[in-house]
């Protein structure tokens, strides 16, 4: 039996991604989840904390997967990362994103939507919380990026990483609209995986320049 808490989390996740945090009311969530309205405040305390819990569940999964991919990379290079390739570093993101997509229906799209909305948030309280909790994984990933781009200094890597983040969030969060256009204009049906497979070489070339 799926618990009331998880029922709420599951429906909240979908609705937040589809409509945004402010546009989704607790009444919508509890109606879809078929639970009592007051149970949200019972289990989570407030709407704000529910948003954070939804975000955290996704982030925990993906950081774990990214960490295990980084461990694999370490093993493959025998801890000597001096001749690591950017393509390898970016490629490491693929499986974790694909896993998200299998974890739940349209998981990758939902997560990227959530991530984008969290960044757009007024007082960035999710961003700050994420920086705290996930900084270790984040910084480790940056160190691989630096190892593979010896020509770029730390600040340059920082900017490029965020340019890349923008592309990933924007094109995966809005993948449905893009897929529809690709379908109608070019008669071409493209999966999430294929989008990632276009994104990674595109970003690899961008990181490699200079």
């Amino acid at each position: 039996m799926i618990s009331t808490k998880d029922k709420i989390l599951n429906e909240a996740e979908k609705l937040f991604a589809e409509q945004g945090f402010a546009e989704t009311s607790l009444r919508m969530i509890t109606a879809k989840a078929d639970v009592n309205l007051a149970s949200v405040n019972y289990h989570f305390g407030s709407k704000k904390k529910l948003i954070q819990a939804v975000f955290e569940r996704f982030m925990d999964t993906i950081t774990q997967d990214i960490t295990s991919e980084m461990d694999k990379l370490d093993a493959a290079h025998g801890r000597d990362l001096s001749n690591i390739q950017i393509s390898e570093v970016l490629q490491l993101l693929k499986q974790p994103i694909k896993n998200l997509d299998q974890l739940r229906p349209d998981g990758a799209g939902v997560f990227m939507n959530l991530l984008g909305r969290s960044y757009a948030e007024t007082q960035g309280h999710i961003r700050r919380f994420a920086m705290d909790k996930y900084s270790q994984t984040f910084n480790r990933f940056i160190s691989y990026l630096q190892a593979s781009c010896p020509q770029s200094d730390a600040s340059e890597i920082f900017w490029r990483l965020h340019f890349m983040l923008g592309s990933f969030i924007f094109s995966l969060a809005g993948h449905r609209a893009l897929q529809e256009i690709a379908e109608s204009d070019f008669n071409q049906s493209v999966s999430i995986e294929q989008i990632i497979d276009k994104l990674i070489p595109f970003m690899t070339a961008a990181f490699a320049h200079n």
Copy 2:
């Protein structure tokens, strides 16, 4: 004297960009603009139409500027676009974005914020309206991109353009947060123009690959 209608537009623009559409109430806007609450519905009909008007004012400006940059490019190449460079095509975006920034305080950030929020919108009604009204400029820009990337077919250009859009929107809409991090972590103060100057070569390299 600045008209009531413009006072509303000016304040709405700022508040929408800072907090989002749903989070900004007509009462906040009219209080800041120092006009009567009912005047929003008098001049615009509804909150939804006000959002559209704010968006349109920015889009009209930037499409006009982009068009005139494209005219310049035509003139420089004597209408023969066969050996046009990607760097030229992307560079053409710089001045229009800079103009936005001078048009109003933090104009570029505000506009990119609005653009991002419009894309995230539930039923994409702004996206559809924009496609209609600005498709001519949009398609013309795509044709330059295609001329400069003869190795890529139309669908490939389409995907790359949206990857780029994501980077621009994400990093300019969130430029303040990024600037703060760059300041504190690298002791480096970066202007909007400098961000664009990092973005353009980054994207140029990405477009050029294959």
